[in-house]
């Protein structure tokens, strides 16, 4: 994973918001970008103590190889699975048309 720079530009925030499908107004971008920069700068302070000989960690516990056996366990029924779906059809989750902005 690349090193994260300690500041973030307004354009980068706009790009990330687009990737995350979060609709931000110009005013919100003006407001949020500097705040995010402050957060990044604060976190970047860790770099001062974490030198190259300290491996980055993604998990607080020193565990590896936590596996499950390849055994089938009970599933939800289709009714249960679809119970939280705003729309369903033909026992499937119904979602708005895809690829509109990608086509």
């Amino acid at each position: 994973m690349p090193d994260t720079p300690a500041t973030i530009t307004r354009d980068e925030v706009a790009h990330l918001a687009n990737l995350a499908r979060i609709d931000l107004s110009d005013a919100e971008l003006d407001h949020l970008a500097p705040q995010l920069s402050v957060i990044l700068e604060s976190v970047a302070a860790i770099n001062e103590v974490a030198s190259a000989d300290v491996p980055p960690t993604s998990h607080p516990l020193p565990l590896t190889n936590v596996f499950r056996d390849d055994v089938v366990t009970p599933c939800l029924t289709a009714e249960e699975a679809l119970s939280g779906a705003p729309e369903s059809e033909q026992q499937r989750f119904s979602v708005p048309r895809i690829l509109g902005e990608e086509a």
């Binding site: 190889n65 055994v71 089938v72 119904s94 895809i98």
Partner: protein
Amino acid sequence: MSEALLTFEESLEKFDPAMGLEVHVELNTASKMFCGCPTEFGAEPNTQVCPTCLGLPGAMPVVNRVAVESAMRIGLALNCEIAQWCRFARKNYFYPDMPKNFQTSQYDEPIAFEGWTEVEVEGRTYRVEIERAHMEEDTGKSLHVGGATGRIHGADHSLVDYNRAGIPLIEIVTKPIMGAGEKAPVVARAYVSQLRDLIVALGVSDARMDQGSIRADVNLSLAPKGSGGLGTRTETKNVNSLRSIERAVRHEMQRHAAILDGGGSILQETRHWHEDTGVTTSGREKSDAEDYRYFPEPDLVPVAPSREWVEQLRSELPEPPQERRARLQSEWGFTDLEMRDTVGAGALLLVEQTIAAGSTPQAARKWWLSELARRANDTGVDIAELGVTPTDVAAVQKLVDAGDINDKLARQVFEGLYAGEGTPEEIVAARGLAIVSDDGALGTAVDNAIAANPDVAAKIRDGKVAAAGALIGAVMKEMRGQADAGRVRELILEKLT
């Protein structure tokens, strides 16, 4: 909206192709990658799902041990290094085929890396370098409603079934394959064909391309001839038969060549493959890797396979493809050419299984490389997926050997097999194909033939035995081919001499 193409030959005169293949193998574990849902193909929609694979809040994934083992076995069979320590990563994207809004994959720490395999095409060996093999999970299946053909474009809305979401996948990525020149399309096909055989030998997947358990993305680029460089590539997604892999490489070579030759440049993008027309169309511009905002999966701890585990798996590997080919050729007594044709038709494993089911090597080769290869070619279906199994072929040959049918009738049995009419024995019975060995029925047909051809009969009575051919033909016609020509000849000669 077909795009301009140069001919394949013109493309080769001006450019050198480089290919990269990304093959996804769906593992045949009983349960999914991170949860205990079953993985059976063809279940009713959304009946093999749970909070984990639906991405419901609070659900926690746990890695399937057998999937990790299968990943390592694939890596080892491709001569890869196995990571001492590696992690899963989240690949973030918004597309409803992954309900979590990310796919759990591996990013810069694949479980297997830096491997190679050797592919043989028409007597020449091509080395394919493997960049990596990593673990990830499959996505759900979308049905696009409102469009004409179920494709994405023009769809009004989409219906998603998550039964497939979370089934373990291994993605095997090659380094650029260069120097194949005019053989590039065939080398691409041969690589995937050999990979499929290897997957079958390892027993880690159903390896059914028609059911999507092996899927390939084909990267292609062209560089000016002799330059040794790499051009801009396109990635053609979901090319799901061996024949299509060959066609897609060929098509992209011709399409790139026309653009570059006209002074244009290639847009790095995803292409959609159209099986019916054999062309690709523009998908979307390829996102930069950063756009997926990969980061280490915090819900899963690292995988650190012990060297004992790795060595144990290595010791259980099936024999490597090149050694296997040499052994089988010697066991079967095939000539180099026979072996080359068998491998080239993608029939090596099928012939091996047919022999194991009781056929002789030459009979097995005969059916797969004539009747079945022709059928595969005519229908555009991969030879392994015609609906005819090695057991069927051995059974057909057994019927021929027993004198129940001849080669001509055997072709009708294959017709029945393509149509799914049952086992060869059932088809012979249902279609009434068995050779009539009842001398009564044959004798009547012989009498009829003699009566209808008095001139020919007279010649035979005069000792011109060679004339019997015409009568045999008449009898065979009346018996609709269901007679043993040798026995018919005997009966004719008995009656006339």
